[in-house]
Structure formats: C-alpha cells, structure tokens
Symmetry: C2
Subunit: 354 residues, 2 copies
Amino acid sequence: MATIWDVARRAGVSSTTVSRHLAGQRVREAAAVQASIEALDFRANEVARSLKSGVTRTIGLVVPDVSNPFFAAVAKGVESVSRQLELNVFLSNTDENDERERAVLRGLIGRVDGVILAPAREKSDNTAELRRAGVPIVLLDRRLEDGEDLDCVLVDSAGGAAQAAEHLLGLGHQRFGLISGPLDTTPGRERYEGFTAALEAAGVHLDPALMQMGDFKEDSGYQAALRLLGLPFAVTAIFAANNLMSIGALQALHHLGVRVPEEVSFIGFDDLELAELLSPPLTVISRPTIEQGVLAMRLLRNRIEGKGRGRAQHIVLDTRLTVRGSCQRLHTSDDVSDVTTPAPQEAVMTRNNT
Amino acid sequence: MATIWDVARRAGVSSTTVSRHLAGQRVREAAAVQASIEALDFRANEVARSLKSGVTRTIGLVVPDVSNPFFAAVAKGVESVSRQLELNVFLSNTDENDERERAVLRGLIGRVDGVILAPAREKSDNTAELRRAGVPIVLLDRRLEDGEDLDCVLVDSAGGAAQAAEHLLGLGHQRFGLISGPLDTTPGRERYEGFTAALEAAGVHLDPALMQMGDFKEDSGYQAALRLLGLPFAVTAIFAANNLMSIGALQALHHLGVRVPEEVSFIGFDDLELAELLSPPLTVISRPTIEQGVLAMRLLRNRIEGKGRGRAQHIVLDTRLTVRGSCQRLHTSDDVSDVTTPAPQEAVMTRNNT
DNA sequence: CGGAGATCTGGTATCGATTGCAGTCATCGT
DNA sequence: ACGATGACTGCAATCGATACCAGATCTCCG
C-alpha cells in the first residue's frame, strides 16, 4: 500500500501538505496531490490514523446471542446506522455469561470509540473499566444496577408483561404458568414483576410452583413447559418471557400433544417471524426491534461526538399486544375468544407508558 | 491508559525490556516489570501494536443480511471460533447489494487480517482490491466466478434442490411452482439448476411461467407466491429457494386461504426454528448453519497463519431432506402421504455428494 | 514602495508499541 | 588472568499518519 510519503514525493510536496489536503484544507498543489493520490490508489492507513488521533472509528456491539432473532434485528439496526456514519462494528456474543462479557469488554478498551451493550446481568461491574477509560456506553434492552448515568434504550417490559396478564385475566384465566427469564436481568425481572403485579392487582396470586425459571434460551423454555405440565394442578394459561423460550415451550407442548389454545392458552413476549403461521397463530407482546438498534446507535453517536456532554438519556419504547389465536376464553370453548374472532387484520393494542 | 514507558519507568528498566517481557522473553527484572504492569493495570495499546506489526487481530464478516436466521447462525459460529483465537470480528451487511458490498470491502482494507464473505453476486470483481492487497478471503455459502483460487464453505445446493424435486415427484406431482433466488448468486443458480435438472431427468418440464424470481427476501417470496397462485393452471407443489422467501410464500398462501398441503404441497430450502410447529409442519431441505461459520473461520485462520500457503480448499457440506407435513401425495388426499405418517421422529434423509 | 496581515509551506515531534544493533556484564574454559 | 561465549540491556529507528511551529510567499493598502 502506498503511504502518504509516496503521494507527497510524487506530487512534489511534503507529507504535511498531503495530510492537509486529505483533511479538506485548501492547498496550493491540490490538483497535483489529488492526481498523485489517484495514480497510486492511495488510502490512508486507518491504524496509523487511529494511533495519532486516538479515534478508532469503530464501536463494539456486545449482545448475549446474535442468533436470537431479536438481537439479530438489533444488530441490523445498529449496523445500518453505523454504515452511514462510516463506523465499523465489532460484534461479540457473551452467551448470557457474565464472565465472558467481562473478558469481551476488557478486550474492547482502546479499540473502540464506544460500546453498545446488552448486559448479561443487572448487577455487574463489568463496565467499570470501560467507564474509567472514558469509553461511552449505551445500554441496550437491559439496565445495569449502577448504570443510571448511562444512556439506554429499553422497552416497557413490565407494562408488556402486564398487558399479557390482563389479556389472560380478561379471558377468565386464574391459574397461570410463568416461564420467566433470569431475575438478575432486566427483561427477566421486569417481565416477572409486571406479570405478577398485574395478577395481584386482580386478586390472583401466582403459586411459586407455577413460576419456572429459564435462561432465555430455547431448551430452558422446553424444560420449563415440561415441568409446568407435569404439575398436579393444571395451568390454563402460560406466559413465556421471551421468544426463544416461547419456541421451546411450544415445542414441548407440541410433543406432549397438548392442544393450544383448547387445553392451555399461550402468550409470549417478543414477536416471531412465523408467529402468524403457527397453529394456532401465536398471540404475543411485540415491540420494535431494528428500531431499538437504530436508536441505540444514534445515542452512542451523540455521546461520542459530544464526549459525555449532557445527562443520560433513557428511552423506553412501548410494547404492543398482538392478538392472534393462541389464547382462548376459559371454560367456554365455543364462546367468544380471540381464536374465533375472524379478524382480517390482527387486533393490536398499544400500551402507552409514562 | 498507562503506556509501556510508564511501566518501564516504574520498574526502573527501558521500554524495550518491558516489550520483551510482554513477548515472553527472559528478562532479569521480570518480577519488577510484572509488578509494575499489574500496579498500573497496563494493557498494550493494540492500535500501536497493529501499526508496527501490520497485524490487526481482526477479521471482517460480510454477509447480505444478519437478520436472516441463516446468516445470524453463521455469525454465531464465526464469532465463537474467533473468540477462541482472540480475534475481533467486524460485521457488515450488504443487503444483497453489489455496490454496497464493494464499498464495505474497500473500507476493510488495512483494518483486517482476513475476510469471510458471502458475495451478493457471483460475477463481481469486488474482491480484486482485497486480493491485490494480499488479504486472505474465505467465501461463505456462495461462490465467486473468478474465485476458484479462494477457500470456500458451501452446501450442496443443487443436490438439495434435487432432493426436494425428487421428493415431490415421488409424491406424484407434475406441476411445480419454483420460487427462485437470483440466478447470479450461487444458491439461486444452483438451486434452480438442481431443481429443474431433477425434473428434466424425470421427464417433467418446468413451464417458465411457473418459475418466479425472488431476491431471497421475505416480501419477494410473498409476491412470487401470489403470482403463482394467480396463474390459470394451478400448481400442485411449490419449492422456495430459501428460508425468508419460504416465510413470505407461506404467508401469502395463508392470506389467500390456500390450504397446505391439501391444495398445494410446499417445501423450502433452509430449516426454520419453528418449522416443526407450523400448521402443517414444514418439510424442508436443511443443512448445517453454525457449523458453516465455524468451518469458514477455521479456513481463514489457516490462511492467515499460513499466509497463502497451499491450494484453495473447497468444502461442500451435505443437505438433508427433513420430511414433516407440508407435502402430500397428489390426487389421493386420504392416501399415504408424509403428512399422515405418524412419525414420532421426523423422517430424515441425508444426501451424500461426491 | 514597504510593511501588516493572511495564506500556505515543510521540518519535526508525536502517538505507543516493536526490533536491529551495539554495548555491558557475568560466566567459563584454558 | 584473559579472551571467548552467552545472557541481557538500552538506544534509536520504525510503522504511517497528524499537529505544532516557524518560516516563506503572497495580497493589499496607505
């Protein structure tokens, strides 16, 4: 690769002049320099540039699992904005593992101008080093206990879970199974709290045995559903706290031959590409995905350019109840239920948070 | 951040000695240096290191669309290996767009030690600059016309498509709709060729009107299915060349109220997480996904370490016919068909390629 | 015509690491 | 005791760009 000196020599100027031309300043021999650049197919060495300027034009995207459709969509959103900004994106998976996350974040110091992070655990000091190093951080979809001073893009998980509970309550259900995510993650905790709070508000108490802990991965949803269905008193409705666990749980129900919604109603958090085509079509709490990534990247851009100026921004997006056909009115199977409403359009209810 | 000089001063040695200690050489004051490193929480500046050594410890992963579950899985595989190797991964989407790909690849020169690329088009000279710059490239899932000298990890797309055709032929179908991917991409072309060749071999000719071109994205599958169903002579079976177009097509069939497999049999290339739970469960040609990413990363590692030594490796993985319930024997709806076989296990047929 | 001011220039230090080279010191054999 | 060998050491150059600074050139106006 040609260096800035090669360009300079060919154009009969100094490297300083070439550098200035590159930076867009007026230069007497601009034409000659430009010609030289093109003749040599010169492109500035970004590594050298980074060393001198301290700017890497790179950001880190650290998520639990890219193969989760939600995070894949987020990654797409982040990537689309970062391309426009001519920033590169380092992608890392933590596999929901706090240790791995720690190692990944350490490795990012000095290599990135900022980080978008979906932390594995709410209480974790993994960001301490980054913060000490002055690296801007935007939290994605998950809070951090000591992260009130960080920008974040969240969804109203508690509200969404409450919508799910209220929908099921409205259909007459009283005995719920909850497939929860880890309570030390934001979505796990808030969806648990939102769901149970809505039940309590209706005077319904969630039997601890009916709350099954999962880890947001598919298999844990499968196992949780098996345990729920093995209990002496049957649940009539199940809420799963994310997409992957929903898939696992539905698979379990399918293998057990449990009919949805006739025998048990099912609602999941997070929409799925194929939800509409399932049998029955899946009723879910849905939310923006790509947009979450876009917003996170925009916040990070502002932080990077403004260098920490201004108070932390907390964006909380609304969830939507998308009623399809997996929840049915209790005890009156040929009664009015969402599975029988021949809606040409899906019924959608948006919840506004404060 | 502390620099190597800070460490040196504190330990009472020169920066050279610290550097050597870092590189694992014997050094008299090793203990003092190590203590100094720990006291200052020193970590070497990777940017400076890259500048001097010319090694970035970073690779680029360039795919058409991370939010496609196939590429998301590939990304996961790539990422898992690269973490072990302590390499960072730049993720870029090209949106199936040749121009964008060109720009992305240009931007990678000098910033990465190698690239894993799923090219948008088979005939494209987008890699020319990278190759001139001596950057190792591994092709992923797609060939490049002038890329015989590049390592690649493919699946036997033609064989898989032939399996699909043979499966449908075996069920008595004669009138097929094909939702094809772009013929200037490897999967598009090979699946088209494999499918039609298998039909020709059985003496069946595919009416050009029954071949609908898509672009591998969901909406094109939707539109293609609408067009197919709008034709005067009804098709009895449809093959869609990838996952996203399958989803779109199934959605179209659903909206049109066309029953699968009673009215039309359906088979798709690429498995879907929820395929088993669809109504009917979807029969597909499936294949390794994460593993494709893992293999690509391993090939790239070898190239980077061996610096171009050795001939190009072409890995071609087998596809599998996974029979579920979306294909039915023709004209005898209560006859033996794959939808009625009460298989506790899915029926799976592996095809070995040469 | 001369000098203030604006405009442009190149030399050189710098970012933070690695590395070739020459030099210091201890050890060893004879 | 002395030179040869080896084990370490630090100086200084280097990677490729940017930025400060002083000097050179040009412009313009009194």
